[in-house]
């Protein structure tokens, strides 16, 4: 793969602006080459009317949607952030409310499925917040203050039956009971 398309892959994946220096490091190319290739890519995108474009700011490049696609994207954002929550999403939100702060791994194990996409959606809607933990502790999730306010509560402890449900040992037993997965995680 040529430099231009390696850069394209990196800029696509990164949600943040990327410094030319970093890009040069990951692609093992000279900074000048990187800058040049990024400019070429920008021109390519414009010429072929693509859905994305590159913007340059203070020596950093970022891939963003083309301004012409703004309306379409806005429609998607609106639909994805409004409306009712699905049952699985409500369940994840509930577990985070009664058991937070909780790690993704524990949430996955309680629900029995991988909850990555659900967590994203709850984050996007501002219903939960991520708290970066230490290295081996990982990210933990809590319901947001906005969401508590929306429910008319001052804190999670005001949730119905909080003391009993929060302390219920079933969850701890289920998490502890868990058979060790084969080969760390299969």
């Amino acid at each position: 793969m040529d430099l231009k398309h390696k850069l394209e892959a990196l800029l696509f994946v990164s949600a943040k602006p990327m410094a030319v220096k970093q890009l040069a490091e990951f692609t093992e190319a000279a900074e000048e080459e990187v800058r040049e290739a990024c400019h070429e890519l920008t021109v390519d995108y414009k010429d072929s009317g693509r859905g994305m474009t590159l913007i340059e700011n203070g020596g950093k490049f970022q891939m963003v949607t083309a301004p012409e696609a703004a309306d379409t994207v806005a429609k998607m954002v609106k639909v994805e952030t409004s409306g009712e929550l699905s049952r699985p999403s409500l369940e994840a939100l509930t577990i985070i409310a009664y058991r937070g702060p909780i790690s993704k791994t524990d949430l996955d194990r309680i629900r029995g499925v991988n909850c990555s996409l659900i967590i994203r959606n709850l984050l996007l809607r501002g219903l939960i917040e991520a708290k970066e933990g230490s290295e081996d502790d990982g990210t933990h999730y809590n319901v947001s203050f906005d969401f508590l306010k929306f429910l008319g509560l001052g804190s999670v402890e005001d949730l119905p039956d909080f003391a009993r449900l929060h302390m219920d040992t079933t969850v701890d037993e289920a998490l502890a009971d868990e058979e060790p997965l084969e080969n760390p995680v299969i």
Binding site: A9, L127, F147
Partner: protein, 237 residues
Amino acid sequence: MEITLEKFEGPLALLLKLIEADELDITTVSLAKTADQFVTYIKENKDIDPEEIADFLVVAAKLLLIKSRALLPFLYPAEDVEADDFEKQIKMYKEFLEAAKVVDKLAAGNRKMFGREFTKASWLQREAGFFPPPNASASTLAMIFEDVLARLKPAEKLGQSTIEDHINIDDKISHARQLLAGKVNFFFSDFIKHAKSKTEVIVGFLAILELMRQREVIIEQLSLFGEMEVKQFPIIN
């Protein structure tokens, strides 16, 4: 011959390994030939997961049936549909084993693809967006959490007792020996009268076949699907 089996590999994997160790193709004949080795493996490898043993016994029973048909064809005049199906099943399983190797190679080929990182900022103009769902209320949450607790609760316990009930072929053999200690014969239907599951019947049958192999008993069946009579092996001077 050393054959090792990983947890969850299951009886078909064992069977294929036995057949391949003998460099045989998958045919009714090779299945019949493998029956004894298969049963011996189960007997000698006490570390087969108790949760898996029933699956192994089901296959053992099929193999022994195929073997007995091969040895005593006149007892089974009908076409051997079951053996053909079993043969097909093994072949199909083997195909998927081959496919799994290919998948493993793909995984090792380092052609991983990556999705885009997710951040609120990449979706929203202002990060502070808050979009409450109309269907979440404090009482709904409490109700759902009760559901979650209920779902987590019973799951474990069920499995345990079923396993305890499951059935040891040695026990069945001793039971059969006991029955024969006092008399010269008994009916197979009496032997399995108290069986609680199909598996237990199969294990009972395996026990009798094993005793037959060890020349402790003979079986007589006077009509097709008729009652089987289990007798002490005649002592001939």
